[in-house]
Structure formats: structure tokens, C-alpha cells
Symmetry: C2
Amino acid sequence: MAIRNFNEETLTAEVLRRIEDTSNPRLKQVMTSLIKHLHSFVREVRPNPDEWMTGIRFLTDTGHWSDDKRQEFILMSDTLGVSMLVDFLNYQAQAGMTESTVQGPFHRRDAPEYPLGANVAKDPPDGEPCVVRGTIRNADGKPVAGAALDIWETGEHGYDTQKGDGNAMDLRGIFRTDAEGKFWFRCVKPVAYSVPCDGPVGKMLMATGRHPMRPAHLHFMITAPGHDCLVTHIFVKGDKYLDSDAVFGVKESLVVDFKKNAAGEWEASYDFVLKPSKQARKAA
Amino acid sequence: MAIRNFNEETLTAEVLRRIEDTSNPRLKQVMTSLIKHLHSFVREVRPNPDEWMTGIRFLTDTGHWSDDKRQEFILMSDTLGVSMLVDFLNYQAQAGMTESTVQGPFHRRDAPEYPLGANVAKDPPDGEPCVVRGTIRNADGKPVAGAALDIWETGEHGYDTQKGDGNAMDLRGIFRTDAEGKFWFRCVKPVAYSVPCDGPVGKMLMATGRHPMRPAHLHFMITAPGHDCLVTHIFVKGDKYLDSDAVFGVKESLVVDFKKNAAGEWEASYDFVLKPSKQARKAA
């Protein structure tokens, strides 16, 4: 019976035939594409058994390095450009709206909410004092009051989850814009840093001749009723890694001038323009 | 600068540009193909952020389920047909030689060596008594003396590594052919069984409408100087899963009639023909 004698040409069709009864049409579409590309990749590179086992071990190690504080598969997705690709395919800012970029693995759902002007840096601060301010507007140029800005950043010694037992809360917080759509808060000046490179992804970067650095940036996740959630960064102008970000996250429109103010602190201004949600666009 | 403004079309080229300095040419080839296929897959299915996160979690769980006794990534490779594809691309038996099939995740390097005729089933045996015998020959039809047969199988309650603390040694062993290339040993009659389906791969099989069963089989890994290592099974004729093996391992030439002998035990005969190694073929 032919069904017992697959070869490298007929095997892919048989694997696809086996998933024909998948009841969820979206899952069927994803699995079909996955199987086709996975088999094409294997046929293209023709791994020997040792190479195949190296791949199995790499994936296994990547899983073992991942826990609730460290997510090595997200890091792999980021460093292979997959996360930015998913971001491009999903957010698609229109002209005049703020562009999105990669979320990264360091967001926490439990960040504290602060009043405008508060300092997210615990004392002593892990970096140089900095003030960030701006206005959030909608696509019509009107200020958005009560928008939530969830912000997070690395200090000079890493993100809070990378320090000590990883449970302290530092350099992150949630603010809400005032009636004029304005926000301002205190933090530390963002610094360039290395993505975690003591695990499998670090080995991959090293083996492929890449550095693990990200240019200095401050993360934002901005939510407001009637608008799509905007996940983005602002980057520090002049950073030497702007053209070689290890996770491909830089967009020119997100690069901001950080300057010393009269009080000797760093200061940066950035105005965000939110994209209306699909429901809001339909209603308009 | 264009380099700071990738889009879904230009991002792939930039990721490939970043690995241009990879010093190992084979790694560069594999990573290039991987990045192209991975990005094509993502562009084709356009995952939303929740779907992307589902993928990240699936891979992470698959890593967490894997340890020195259980290898969920090998199981994923097996059930997606990748392991058989790698096997086809590598072994490629010529006419008249025994075909290979998938190794699976249950081989152990530390199996005990036994004299010919020994029983690999610990007392009480986890199945019905069975004798397996045959001859190992080279491509010229000459018997191969001293070939090592590493054999392993499931009992009615699973492989030894799946029982108790997983450390007992049962239903596996190494035998060596005699001067006439003959081997014979005692075991239990192979039974059909489910691949482990309490983990992520089991969920994938269920969600895609597939059963997790493998037809009854006995594993062989046969090594002899001057020959390629042959990893294969013999399957039990008449098994109801021969046409729907969860790991696509069945080849008609490996299906064997198991019959009751005069002593009331199961008995099967199979003669193997080994493939000369590349060095041996060159020397010939």
C-alpha cells in the first residue's frame, strides 16, 4: 500500500492529509503553513542526524531558560526579527500617527499606578535623573484625557526583574494624562544595554557574528478608550546602536533628543498620536 | 536613514544582512534558510499578538516538558513528520538493503549487553513471550559476524523509562551476531501504544483531529564495522494502526508476520541487509 511507503516528496502531503479533520479553521491554516515551511526548510538544509539533534537541544535549552522572569523564546523571536514582523503586520500606523515597535520580554502586568510627576526610580536611582513629558492626541489632533501610559525601562544595572531576586518593582509605572492630554514623569535617562546573552540566544548571536546591544530606549504601552493599544519606545538620539539594534526595533520617528535642563537633569519631550480602534473608525 | 525604517518587505533582508559575518559557513546556510522560512510563515499566516504569544507559550511548554526521560521536542518533530524527513534525507537505503525508520525518543545509551538467546523482559514480563531471530548480511549477501543489535520496545504498560521512577532497565538490550551473522533473543510481543499525550504535543494532536497511536513495533539500532548505522523497526503485520502511525514511520518492507510457535510463544524472523559505509564504498 502506497500509504506505507512515503518518501521525501510524498511525506509532506501525508502529514497535511492527517490534519484535514482539524475543526478550528484558523488552526488548520496555521498548521498547514507551518508544516509546509518546516518541511521545505528541512529539505533545503538537509540536516544530518547530529545537526537535527543540535536543533532539538537548542529548542529544549531555550525552553529550560524560560520562566516567569526570563522568556528566552520571546528573545529568540525578537533577535530573529519575528517580533517586529508581527508588529508590522498588526499595528500599521497611518500617516501622522505614532509608530509602534516591539514590546520585548520585560513588561510586567503588576506595575504600580503613580500620580503625574512621580518618579518611577527607587532611591538610590539606577541612573541619571530624567524628566519625560508630552501630550497624547487622537488622529484629529484633539488631546486624549485619562489615557493610561504604562512605562518601563532598564537602569544602568538592568531591568528590575534582572536584579536580586527579581521581585522588586523599579523603573516602571502607570500614569494617566490630565484633562489637556498631558503627561509628565520622572525616571532615569535610558541607557544602551545588552539583551540577556548568557543563554541559547546569546550563543546564537555570538555564533552569527552579532552584538547583543539595544540602543537606549524607554518603553510605552498606551491605552485609551476608542483607540488601539500602542506599544512603542522612544529612543535616545545619538546612541551608537541606533543602526544595529539587536531586535530591529528602531524607527526614525521614535528617536528623541534628550537634553540637560536648567536644573541639570535630562529632559525629553514626545507627543503621541493614537490610532482609532476599528469600532471607533466604523462609528465615525 | 533607511536602515531605521524597516517594513515587512525589507526586514527579512536586514536580518539576513546582520548574520553576514557568521564564520561557520554551514551555520550561515542553516540560519539563512531558517530566517527566510520563518519570516515567510509569519507573513503567510499574519498572527495577531495573542496568536504569536500562543506560539511562544507552546514552545516554552514543550521545553518545560522535556528532561532526560521525556523529550517533547523530539515527539513534536516525530509527529510533524520532520524526523522521518530527516531520516529519508540521510539514510537512503539502496535496492535490496533494509530500510531505516525513525529512532524515536526512547533509546538509551546504557542498555545492558546480553548473550544471544537472553530474554530482555524482566520477570514478570510486561507482555506475551516472544522470540525474534534472523541473520545480518552485507550488500553482497555475506553474513556479518559480531554486528551489534541494540533493541528496545514498549511493554503493555509502556517503555521502562515511563514506568515508576523511570530508572529500571527493561525490554532493551544489546546482542552480537554469531560467526554466521545470526541473532536470536527473547522479548515480549510488541503492542500498539499511544505516544505520550499528556503534554503540548498531545494537545496539538487532539486539536488537529489526530490519534496518538503507533502500530506495534520493535526498535533496532544495528552497528557493524564498514557499515552505516541502521536505525529501524520491525512492525507487527495486521496491526490496525499500520496505515496511520502517529509518527509516519511505517514502511511496507518492515512489516513482519508474528506467529505462535510449537511452544505457544510468539515468534518472528527478519533478516537485515546493511548498507556499506562511505569509506567502505570508496575502498571497494
